[in-house]
Every structure is written in C-alpha cells, then in structure tokens.
C-alpha cells in the first residue's frame, strides 16, 4: 500500500430509519489496489460504495477520496462510480453517452479511447444503439464503458460482473488490470464471483454493516467468512 490512501473511511455509519446498514466502519485503500468487497446480501456493500461515491450521506463518520471529502469536486474528479443498475439517457446512443461523459470530464480527444473501450467490451457495432435496444448484458457493458471512458484514480464498481458472459468478464478484468498498471488506478468492486476474487489483491468482508474480514483474497478464508 502506498503512503497516502486513495480512499479513507473513518467511523462510517449509516442508518435507514432504525436499521443500521453500516456501523463504525474504518477502511483505508491505497493506490493501485484491486479490492474485492464481499459480504452476504444486505451486508452494507452498496451502502458503503454509494457513500464513498458521494451519492449517499453517512449518518456519522466520513470518507475521503484522494484526500478530499467524498462528493466534493476534487473527489468527483478522482472517482468513477459504476452503479449496480445501469443508468442511461434513453434518447442518447451508446457512442453519444460515451462522448458526453468524456467531455464532462475534460477528455480532449475521446475518439480512440471510446473505440478501444467498445472494442474491448465487445460493443463494436452497438455504438449507435439506443439504451432501449440493448439487452441486459449489453446495457451492463455500456455502463462499464461509461465508468471507464473518463480518467480516474479510483473506480468504485457495484457488482460490475452481473449479467456478463465469461469472455466479457475476462475482458473487464483485463481492462481493470490495465487501468491499474497504466494509470496506477485503484479499483474497489463488490462481487460474489470466485474468479474475480482470485484476481483481487485484497479482500474486504462486510457483515451486518461492520468490517468482518480484511486480508488476502484467499479462497479458504473467504469460505470461512461466509460460513461464520
């Protein structure tokens, strides 16, 4: 882990009415890590990711992204967020979406980047399609492309492999590895998939809103975490 963490969550809690979704969670993630966030359904993974993305406010505690408060302009510049449910403008094509998001993040010449992503994710030929014309898996791929088309130093991805076929999963893992290798980006993703866990440099387990495991993505340890 590098000296300055890219993500730092301190004493993070979030309640929905009387239900505690997160309780006093502390976590630091350094540059270039690929962290797999695991936990049973309802453990608080999505809540943690949306708070870190600045979309949800904690009941107490705070998250810093690259040293800035989550949700601040600086944090938004550093962070890319891939939601669990793809979100689109229904009247924009895939290519228009990508061009727009790239422009919003100041990417000067997004053409080559867009082509590379479309190609890498198997979306070639679908660039002029409207969201309504895409299958569930294609929508997920387009959503992934939207998260990757802009520069970032940390990517938060909520179940990014859902709905993807094995070749697409492999392609996404390759894209994430390239982002880490080439730009030193950090990736935090929630998943239940063993193949993704194997690729992760670190595994963080959340249960009942609390940090229950933090270590290597070792299959035996993860099995034990889920069996507890």
């Amino acid at each position: 882990m590098s000296a300055a963490p890219v993500l730092r969550a301190r004493d993070l809690s979030r309640r929905y009415d009387s239900f505690p979704a997160l309780s006093s969670l502390d976590l630091e993630v350094g540059g270039g890590e690929l962290v797999a966030l695991v936990g049973p359904n309802g453990a608080g993974k999505t809540t943690f990711l949306t708070i870190a993305a600045g979309l949800l406010e904690p009941s107490s505690g705070a998250v810093e992204i690259a040293g800035f408060a989550a949700g601040s302009i600086e944090a938004r510049r550093a962070l890319s967020y891939l939601p669990d449910t793809p979100v689109f403008y229904e009247d924009l094509s895939v290519a228009e979406h990508l061009g727009y998001v790239a422009a919003l993040h100041g990417v000067g010449e997004p053409g080559p980047r867009i082509d590379a992503l479309l190609n890498g994710l198997g979306l070639t030929g679908w660039d002029e399609a409207l969201p309504g014309e895409l299958s569930h898996g294609m929508r997920q791929k387009a959503s992934i492309a939207l998260a990757l088309v802009r520069p970032f130093s940390i990517l938060l991805a909520d179940e990014p492999f859902d709905g993807l076929d094995p070749p697409s999963r492999a392609a996404l893992l390759e894209l994430l590895a390239r982002a880490r290798r080439d730009a030193g980006a950090t990736v935090i993703l929630s998943t239940h998939r063993p193949d993704v866990l194997a690729a992760a440099s670190r595994c963080v387990g959340i249960r009942d809103g609390q940090l229950a495991y933090d270590g290597v993505a070792d299959e035996a340890a993860i099995s034990e975490f889920f069996s507890d």
Partner: protein, 526 residues
Amino acid sequence: MASGEGGVEAATIAALREMRRARRRRYVEEIDLMEALYRIYLGAVFGAIALGVLGGLIHEAPATDQAVEWLRHEGTAVLGAVVAVAVMIGLRTGARGGPLAIEAAEVQYVLMAPLRRSIALRATALRQLRIAALAGLVLGAAAGNFVFRRLPGSPVEWIACLALFCALVPVALLAAASVASGRRWGASAAGLLGLLLVAWSGADIIFASATSPATMLGALATLPLQGGGGVAMASLGTVLVIGLAAIGLLGLGGIRLEAARRRAALAAELRFSAAMQDLRTVVLLRRQLASERPRRHPWLRLASERSTRYPVWRRGWQSFLRWPSARLLRVALIGIVSGVALAAAWRAAPLALFIPGALLFVAALDLIEPLAQESDHPTRRRLLPSSPDWLVRGGLAAPAAATTLVAAIATVSAAIAGGGSTALVVGLLLWVPVGLGLACCAAFSATADPFAYLLTPQIGYAVTAAPPVLAALLVGAPLFAARETQRLGGSPEGAALGAGIFVAVSAAVGAWFLGRRFEQRDAVVG
C-alpha cells in the same frame, strides 16, 4: 492549477450546454405536429368550456360595498395566508429534496462530474421557475378578467396585478423549496418555519395588520383597492419573492443526491403514469415523492387481529391504521375545506356546489388504496377459493365507511361555516349515500386498466375523466336540488332525502358493476 481547473470546468459547462441543446433539438424534431395540434385543440376547447362555466358562475353584478370593504381591509391578509401556505408547502417539498426532479442519468453523469452543481442545475431550475410563473401569469390574467367587472378599479390594473400575483405565488413556493433543499434543512425545521410563517399571516388576519412578508405579497392582489401605501407594500413583497428565488438559485448546489436519485426514479414513473392517465398511480407516486410511508406501528391494533372473520374488512382498516399523520391530516383537511366551500356555494353561487365533489374524490382516491392493491395483483385474486366480486365488493366496505367519515367532517364543517341547522340536517341525510358513491367512483378510477384503451385514447380520456365528474355530480346534484327546492319554497330536507336514496341506489349499482368488471377481467385473463 486553479486556472487549469477553471478551464476544465469551462469545457465541462460547454459540453453540458451543447448536449442539452442537441437533446432539445432532437426532442423538437421528434414531436408529432398533428398530435401536438390535436392536444392544443383539445386544450382550447376544454379551456373555453371552463371559462364559459366560470363566467356563468361569477355574476357580473358589481360587488356590494360591504364585500369591497372586506377585500380592502382583510382580503390582503387572507391572500397573504394563501401565500404563506404555499411557502410552507414549498419548504416541506424542499426538505424532501424538491422541487427539482432530475433525470437519473443527469444525477449519475452530470452531478457526479467535476462541475459546480449550482451551475449544472441552474438551467433546469430556471426553466421550472419560468414555466410556473408563466402558468400563474395566464391564470392570474384570466382571473383579473373576471374580477374587474365586479370590483372598482380599471381592467388593466386588475389584470396586471392578479397576473403578477399569481405568477409570484408559485415562484415563492419553488424558491422556498430550493432554499430548503439547497441548505439541506430537515423536515422538522422546514415544517416549523412554514408553520411560523402561516401563524404570522394568521395573526395579520386576526389583528388586521400587514406585517408578514406573505401578507405583503397579498397586497399585490388587492392593489387596485389600496391607496399609495399598498404600492410600497406590494413592491416589498415582490422584491422579497425575487430575493428568495435568487437565494434559492445560488444555493442549488447543496442538493442531496440521495433525494435527487429517489425523486428521479419516481418522477419518471409519475410522468409515464400521467401520460397514461393512470390517476391512481399518479396519487401513489405523488405519495412516495412526498416520502409518505406507512407507519411501522399502527395508530392502534385491531382487537380481532388474529381473527379469521371479515378478513377483507379488517385488511382495509389495518391499512388506514398505518396511515402517516400527514395523510390523515390531508384527508381531514379536504373534508373541512369541502364543507366550508359547500356552505359558501349554498349561500352565494349554487353552481359551485359541484366543485367540492371533485375535491372529495381526491380524498376517496387515498381511501380506496386497499382495494386498489387487490386490483394490482390479479394472480393472487384468481388463486382465492372464491369469486373475485366477493373480494371487490367486500374490499369496498372499509373505504366506503372511511369516505363516509370524511363526508361527515364536511357536513359538520359546512354547519360551522355558516350553513347552520339546514346544512346539518341536509348533510346528515346525504353523508352516508354520498360517502358510498364517492368510494364507488374512486374504486372505478383506481381499478381501471390504463392499458385497456391504448388504441382508442379518446375512450381512455373519457374513462379517466368519468369518475371525478361523477363524484362532482354525486355531491353537487343532491345539494343543488335541495338548494333549489328551498329557493322555491319547498323542503330542502325532503329533496335531500329523495336525492340521497337515488345516490345510495346508484352506489349499490356501481358496486355491482365493479364486481362484474373484475369477473370479466379475470375471465379474459384466465
């Protein structure tokens, strides 16, 4: 570094503007001209009919000196109280994340971009203010056109003042909402502030003063009756609203994304439901937008909770007993306002007796929810070991009883508001049949299939419009008959009794038809 970041933001703003322009262009290009013209034609026809009816309701005889004096001295404060209530609604809306309802994608991509959110949201907020102000302007000008014929003052003065006043009221509401949303005020703080303003305006009515900012705006609406002091006060009120709007616009960036995402999802469904004329879903989503959720613990638990007797009847009351206080208050308030309006209409404008029925229909739509939910689940209904009409007619009982209670509130309110013993007796004869009739109308509306008339939208419009119109007639016609009988020297109680029996029989026939509708629908599905 700072200038670099400024450059990036400028590029981001340019991209945002360009995309919005392009999307607007595409939207305009895709508009079906004939469809748009048809809608304008329909709007013009119904608008003309509404204006004609309104013209008939408002006699052009000049107002009495007494009425003019009342307007001059108390009208300002009363209108100010209306403004205060609008601001209170705005503050509550803002505390729940309103007034903007942004697309989910706009939240995900624009509000998450490295760009000041106040800049990103400004165009949307300004458009919302513009539309609201324009609608108010037109409505106010139309009202001014009727008012100048009855009150002293020139037509230009009345039309201009009322147009400006009606334009500024929704602006005040939206501005208050923007301030509360941008400053992230909690529901309690916003509600308390709104209540304080309403109380302040209420004090102005009681003490015949003009100290509340809302009363100052109220002065604008009665300006043609005021002297020079009125101009200063109205100007101050106008400046305050514009100032509030400016503060709201400047603070837009403080919006809670959590609320924005929730509103985005609900607003999209709301637009779709409105487009489908699905009144019940509109009410349902409106409730969700207002964060109205059932209480975790009911107001009281039914003693027979574990009993197996009368399950449908109990299910209805279990639903009502989990209503949040805001919904209870709203329905009770509808009953009170309807009663007061009926008393006023009885005295001054008998044709206006038909208006409160539409208002009571809104309350009935809330009350019919348990039955409407049965309509949402045809499979569950068809798996029951009994015919659907049993479930539907049984499901009508609890809402009908509750609607009857609202009709009783209206009756008592009408009696207190000056209707006296006549209102009480007529109301007592009518509240049960009217309650039953309203429940039937709401049931027909809430259980209508919004997709049944996709190929014949004109029939769809008629099916959507029929229940509220019938509700207006069910409430208005018996009262109108009683009022006319009294005017002609007859017994209003006798007329009310006859009309009540007719309404009760109509409601029973309606309930039977409702059961048939479900039987036929399930038979088609099966």
